[in-house]
Amino acid sequence: MDLQAIMIAVIMIGVLGLVLGLFLGCSAKIFHVESDSREEAILEVLPGNNCGGCGYPGCSGLAAAVVKGEAPVNACPVGGEAVAAKVAAVMGVDAGRSERMVAFVKCLGDCEKAAKDYDYHGEADCRMAALLPGGGDKSCNYGCLGYGSCVKECPFDAIHIRNGIAVVDREACKACGRCVAVCPKKLIELIPCHAAYAVACASKDKGPEVMKKCKAGCIGCGLCKKNCPADAVEIMDFLARIDPEKCEKCGACAEKCPKKVIAKP
């Protein structure tokens, strides 16, 4: 190969690169789209792992939604209050109170405590099992089926099946709400992280009925309501419910509960 051929190649590639570069530079100017500088600033402070926990496609999606006013400044469940404050600073609004929430499974009826009507050998998915007669193999129509639809859905590996029921890992849970959406029994609820006590049962059956089906079911006896000094417990549909805002964390309800269904989440 003589020098001339090398020179032709070098000049050719160099000119091509230069032309393409100029072309791209010019078209960047011509086709420039005004993008909100706040969007980039928000993207900067978001965690950037594109988990989709907020419900938008990636962090850039959330940033665009925040700028448009579609999403609140504290919409990022992963970043929590620290990120919410930074986003709020960019948007020039008050961050507001962004309470850390965690998922809580309202069932304690594990393999020993809850009775089963029949054996289920179908696909290991709660949504499938729940379609069967009696709402699944568990005698209790309200209880956790334990086939782990929530486990598969969780992007943070924060929920697991232990002994036939779903258990939330409070440290890992980012309250993205995917498990809440997927549970066919509507058993999972987001509760404030500071809540000390919660009723771990969702059965609306009457007391005797519950006793037959599960050893860890709320029978609606009302002992918790009577013993609560703060009037934080309510009984509705034979099921107790604790208001975390009123609760004074004395633990009287959990102590008096004959079925031990009031748990520290």
Binding site: I8, I13, G17, F23, L24, S27, P57, K152
Partner: protein, 206 residues
């Protein structure tokens, strides 16, 4: 195939039938992912949901068709006259990367709805080896610009078909009890392998 008989009817017809053979050949028989193993990364990465797989497929068709046209023209009018055919790989990389950048800017400004629906897949395709592979195959096979564009479109359509089928299978597979050792990527690779075997059946087509 009845290529001979068609050739007798006239040159026009034979061009058409040749194009059809090229199209079917690169879309199904030598499928870009399943028998040539180009573009495996997006094939496995973006095939979790049918909807996103469809978006990726459309974006790939769009880019590969355009890249085949531009790369074919560059080769024909720039590289061949100067005797620089040996530089095709590096020139094609340069041109394709610039092209995708330009298309992204152009769409963002001119057709925002298409830009929105293609989303993140457009820039991702810059690094998809199927694009470069198709451009180089066109040159290797000695296709002209028209044949190259048809081949590019068909190759990309083959990619879209394969990724949509895999996404459909993966959506159904979520409800299955997969043995622990096979969970995640292994079972997807096994599925892709079985699909490749199934696509071998198309080789009797031509």
């Amino acid at each position: 195939m009845s290529g001979d008989r068609m050739a007798k009817k006239g040159g026009n017809m034979s061009t058409l039938s040749e194009l059809l053979i090229i199209a079917v050949g690169s879309a199904l028989v030598s499928n870009v992912v399943l028998s040539q193993f180009y573009g495996l990364c997006p094939f496995l990465g973006v095939s979790k949901q049918l909807k996103t797989a469809g978006g990726m497929g459309v974006a790939v068709i769009f880019v590969i068709t355009l890249a085949s046209l531009v790369a074919g023209m560059i080769y024909r009018f720039l590289l061949e006259p100067f005797g620089l055919e040996y530089l095709k790989t590096i020139v094609f990389i340069l041109v394709i990367a610039a092209l995708v950048q330009f298309v992204e800017m152009f769409l963002k400004r001119s057709i925002p709805s298409l830009y929105q629906s293609l989303g993140v897949y457009l820039p991702l395709i810059t690094t998809n080896c199927a694009v470069l592979g198709t451009a180089l195959t066109n040159v290797q096979e000695g296709y002209g610009i028209l044949y190259g564009v048809v081949n590019g479109f068909a190759t990309a359509a083959g990619f879209a078909i394969a990724i949509c089928i895999l996404a459909g299978i993966r959506e159904k597979m979520r409800y299955n009890n997969v043995p622990k050792a096979f969970q995640g990527m292994p079972i997807v690779l096994v599925t892709a392998g079985l699909m490749a075997i199934a696509f071998c059946g198309f080789s009797g087509l031509l």
